[in-house]
Subunit: 197 residues, 2 copies
DNA sequence: ATAATATACTAACGAATGTTAGCGGCAATT
DNA sequence: AATTGCCGCTAACATTCGTTAGTATATTAT
């Protein structure tokens, strides 16, 4: 009988969720079947249900673990005593690094949250809306300070967050620049587009 | 018997494809069923097959009609005799307007092309890769001209294209700024992030 | 009016889906 | 050594899926 291998102090459930992230990214949540996931894990489909309640539960776990990380970070950044541009840069660098290092999860959370079901769906949407408002508020402050040029803050947020999701393409590209260069390039373009000069 | 209504010189097939675009955007390609589509069109599922060959054919039509519009545009822009920054701005404005006006199709083409099947899949991926290379080449020229600051051109392309796909959020937001403002804001931030100063 | 074509319907298909029930074996605790 | 709980298995389930066959009706052309 083939048990699920657990390494690095991961529970079997965490192994499943982690493999699911990869699978959901590759095929999309709906197209990825529990039998696909079982094969990736090295077990029969029914066996997965000893560890998880449902397919959707896996998606919950992925979406909310990602969302929580971003919420904690913005708490931290808001509390700091620096310029708006600095705060934005810190948030962006965090986003970029999350996307580089936890690619699968972040990507799935970004693209597949639609398949959550209530009450998780509304919950997630709320968190997302609030996060963006807080991000926009930082930009607003920067505009009032004349650190940042007069632009529509929600539009700026939307551009930044979506731009970062483009790291997806970087991951898949054959000729990657290295991660540090990627980060610096993105910061240069995105922050450069905001600041007053 | 409920016939499919055709207005504005659309064929019945075009009506189906158009309704499918909306549905695929809302639920995703895999999650949207032919029965859903039939209901949106006002007909039984089997009746759709008098007009289309398969569900996947609808996706082909959507993806390639969008891709072709962008390819024609970049042909046109490359041939012009202006600065690199001007060319980029023109491409960006085209992207932005396509996303504003043909939202459903462009969005579906962007997010659901994975579900194409070969040979269409490889074909689409090729076109996409080539498009991005041509876009990057314009930026490279601008860098050599000193119009544009020294950045990694493929990264810049990736940022721009993904940033524009954020217009999705604008469409769904309750407090929209108007389309012209959106366009100007996006251009200001994106082009502002590129240029030398 | 009649014939031909286009388009819709009902019924059904095989395949794939998420999930449950029930059983058996492995591993740790007593 | 015996017991308990964890975990994987096979088999099966009810749905839903895309699609086809065959038939009826509506529209267009003659």
């Amino acid at each position: 009988m083939a048990r699920i291998k657990t390494e690095n102090n991961l529970t079997r459930k965490e192994v499943i969720v982690s493999k699911a992230a990869t699978l959901f990214r590759e095929k999309g949540f709906k197209a990825a079947s529990m039998r696909d996931l079982a094969e990736a894990v090295g077990v029969e489909a029914a066996s997965l249900y000893n560890h998880i309640k449902s397919k959707t539960e896996i998606l919950h776990e992925l979406c909310f673990s990602v969302a929580n990380r971003f919420l904690h970070k913005i708490d931290e950044v808001e509390a700091e005593n620096t310029s708006s541009v600095n705060k934005i840069e810190k948030l962006l660098r965090f986003h970029i690094n999350e996307m580089i290092r936890h690619y699968e999860e972040v990507y799935v959370s970004d693209r597949e949250w639609k398949h959550l079901s209530d009450p998780y769906l509304s919950n997630f949407q709320n968190q997302r809306r609030i996060y963006r408002k807080r991000f926009a508020a930082i930009i607003e402050t920067g505009i009032n300070n004349h650190e940042i040029k007069k632009i529509d803050a929600p539009t700026a947020v939307l551009i930044m967050l979506h731009a970062i999701s483009g790291i997806e393409s970087w991951h898949r590209s054959t000729q990657k620049i290295n991660a540090e260069e990627l980060e610096e390039n993105m910061i240069s373009i995105l922050v450069g587009g905001l600041v007053n000069r």
